[in-house]
């Protein structure tokens, strides 16, 4: 199984990197760009765990270590692997 995890800044938290990329995209002529939020993408391979257990344990991993919940939110998918 594979956990695909996205960690991004919560609304209202200053994201200087996102802001800079936003300006760069506007400079390139992409005027439709309203906002850019840069986050992290993590892939975690899992073994010997059911899908239900994986949901619970990945959520715990995010809350304890992978995201700083003061400023970041996370979402994830659990997908089967061959």
């Amino acid at each position: 199984m594979l956990a695909q995890i996205h960690v991004t800044f919560k609304e209202g938290v200053l994201d200087p990197q996102g802001k800079t990329v936003h300006h760069a995209l506007n400079d390139l002529g992409y005027d439709e760009v309203l906002d850019v939020n840069i986050g992290k993408y993590l892939e975690i391979k899992l073994d010997s765990v059911s899908e239900e257990e994986a949901e619970i344990r990945v959520r715990e991993m995010c809350e304890r270590l992978l995201a700083n919940t003061v400023i970041e939110s996370f979402r994830f998918n659990i997908v089967p692997t061959e």
Partner: protein, 229 residues
């Protein structure tokens, strides 16, 4: 005063802190290795020094906050022991939950290394007891993730509780957007916990505490701790 300096892989201000406490201020000072759990009961002060613990991987301080020594530091802090976190040490204290809020990338996205001035906001703590009311200290900063962030409600709470100890200011003590080097909310440069025994700050007092170097404004933080231990 018996002091302990924690050494994480990637700490690089540990020797500066050791030098100031042991050789300049003549205090009994010991190293504390990150892999060891230790009984810290006999210590008066534990310092988490600056640096790049674990290469700042994931987030600065995130991995270090789960080191074995941090279990001991948390037990020590909960029992009222004094803990001082400087720069990366501050980041570790926030990640471990001993202090509120977090530190994000500087607004300018640049690593900033320069002398700044900070205003003392509360002298009723063991870390600032020797300071004058609203005293201005000149202390260097050196960081990339030093922009303090906490939600507006919690920031008000910190202000009401007197938990903000330092704010970035100009040389006359005026706090403004121009005197804020990194975009910290409320120009916050250092905070303490509610019990006022754990303190974290981005400026480096250990870098301006040896009279052989320019400036000794940082000494007052250590002197406050020594005289009140």
């Amino acid at each position: 005063m018996k002091c302990g300096i924690v050494v994480f892989p990637g700490s690089n201000c540990d020797h500066d802190c050791y030098h100031i406490l042991k050789h300049i201020l003549n205090q009994e000072t010991h190293w504390l290795w990150h892999k060891d759990e230790a009984n810290l009961e006999s210590f008066d002060l534990v310092v988490l020094p600056g640096g790049f613990s674990y290469g700042d991987y994931l987030r600065p301080g995130a991995i270090a906050s789960f080191s074995p020594i941090m279990n001991s530091v948390i037990t020590f802090a909960k029992a009222g022991g004094k803990v001082l976190g400087i720069c990366n040490g501050f980041q570790i204290l926030l990640e471990s939950g001993l202090l509120p809020g977090t530190l994000i990338q500087n607004q300018s996205r640049k690593f900033i290394c320069k002398n700044v001035t900070v205003r003392i906001e509360n002298i009723d703590t063991p870390f600032t007891r020797n300071c004058g009311e609203n005293q201005v200290l000149e202390i260097p900063i050196a960081h990339h993730e030093g922009s303090y962030y906490i939600d507006p409600f919690s920031l008000n709470q910190l202000e009401d509780n007197g938990q903000i100890l330092f704010r970035y200011c100009d040389t006359k003590g005026k706090v403004s957007a121009e005197s804020n080097p990194n975009g910290s909310v409320g120009s916050v440069a250092g905070v303490t916990n509610e019990q006022r025994n754990v303190m974290g700050m981005m400026p480096h007092p250990e870098r301006c505490a040896d009279p052989q170097l320019t400036g000794t404004d940082g000494q007052i933080i250590f002197q406050s701790l020594i005289q009140n231990s």
